[in-house]
C-alpha cells in the first residue's frame, strides 16, 4: 500500500513537472525577444538605481565604489 502511494506521488510529481514545460517555436518568441524582458533593458535607469542604492548603503560593493551622502551627483 505504501509502495503504491510512493509510485502515485512520483507519477503526480512527474506529471506536474512536465506540464510546466512548453517548447516555444522560433516564430513564437516575439514577446520573449522584447527588450523589456531583459533584466537591465533600460541601461540609464539601471545606472541611476545602482547609484542611489550604492549611496544609501554607503558601502563599496558589487556596483563599484561610491561615496556616502545624498546621492545627488
Amino acid at each position: 500500500m505504501k509502495k503504491k502511494a510512493v509510485w502515485l506521488l512520483a507519477a503526480v510529481s512527474l506529471g506536474a513537472a512536465l506540464s510546466g514545460c512548453a517548447r516555444v517555436k522560433p516564430w513564437e518568441r516575439e514577446y520573449l525577444a522584447d527588450p523589456i524582458m531583459q533584466f537591465d533593458y533600460n541601461k540609464e535607469e539601471k545606472s541611476v538605481k545602482e547609484h542611489f542604492l550604492g549611496t544609501r548603503e554607503g558601502s563599496t560593493g558589487s556596483f563599484g565604489v561610491s561615496g556616502g551622502g545624498c546621492g545627488c551627483n
Binding site: K25, P26, W27, E28, R29, E30, A33, D34
Partner: protein, 143 residues
C-alpha cells in the same frame, strides 16, 4: 528538402493576395522573418541587394513576415526607401504558413527551383550566406 514546397496564399503588405503557385517557372526564395529578430534585421538589406542583383531574371523573393502586428513590419520597412519589384512582402501574422514550413530558426530561407521543389534550406543568417545564396540561385537558374 527535394519535395514540392507546400502551396500558400498570403496577403502582401499592400493588401493584395499573392500565391506561391503564381511563381512557377521562376527560382523562388522564401524567407521567413520578423522585425523583432536581430539576425533578420541584418539579413533584410542583404535580401534587397540579392534581388537587385537578379533584377529582370527569373528569380522572385517572398519575404514572409511573421510579426503579430502589421504595424511592426511597416515601421521596420520605413528604413528601406527602394524595394525591388521582384521582392514580395507577405504577411503571416497568424503564423499559419510558417507552421506548415516548420521553420526551426529565425530567419529560415527556402530556395525553390523553377518547378517549385525545395532545393536548399538556410537556418538563421550568417555573413557567408549571401555567397551561398548566389551560388545556389545561379545553379538553379541554369537548370
Amino acid at each position: 528538402m527535394n519535395q514540392s514546397a507546400p502551396p500558400f496564399t498570403l496577403m502582401d503588405i499592400n493588401g493584395r493576395a499573392v500565391s506561391l503557385s503564381s511563381f512557377k517557372g521562376k527560382v523562388v526564395f522564401i524567407d521567413f522573418w520578423a522585425s523583432w529578430c536581430p539576425p533578420c534585421k541584418v539579413e533584410f538589406p542583404e535580401l534587397i541587394r540579392l534581388m537587385e542583383r537578379y533584377n529582370g531574371e527569373d528569380v522572385a523573393l517572398l519575404a514572409v513576415n511573421v510579426d503579430q502586428k502589421r504595424s511592426h513590419a511597416v515601421d521596420f520597412l520605413k528604413k528601406f526607401s527602394v524595394i525591388p519589384a521582384s521582392f514580395h512582402l507577405l504577411l503571416d501574422g497568424e503564423s499559419q504558413v510558417i507552421k506548415i514550413y516548420n521553420a526551426s530558426a529565425m530567419p529560415t530561407s527556402f530556395i525553390l527551383d523553377k518547378n517549385g521543389v525545395v532545393r536548399h534550406i538556410h537556418f538563421g543568417y550568417r555573413e557567408t550566406d549571401r555567397k551561398k545564396w548566389i551560388e545556389e540561385i545561379d545553379t538553379l537558374l541554369k537548370q
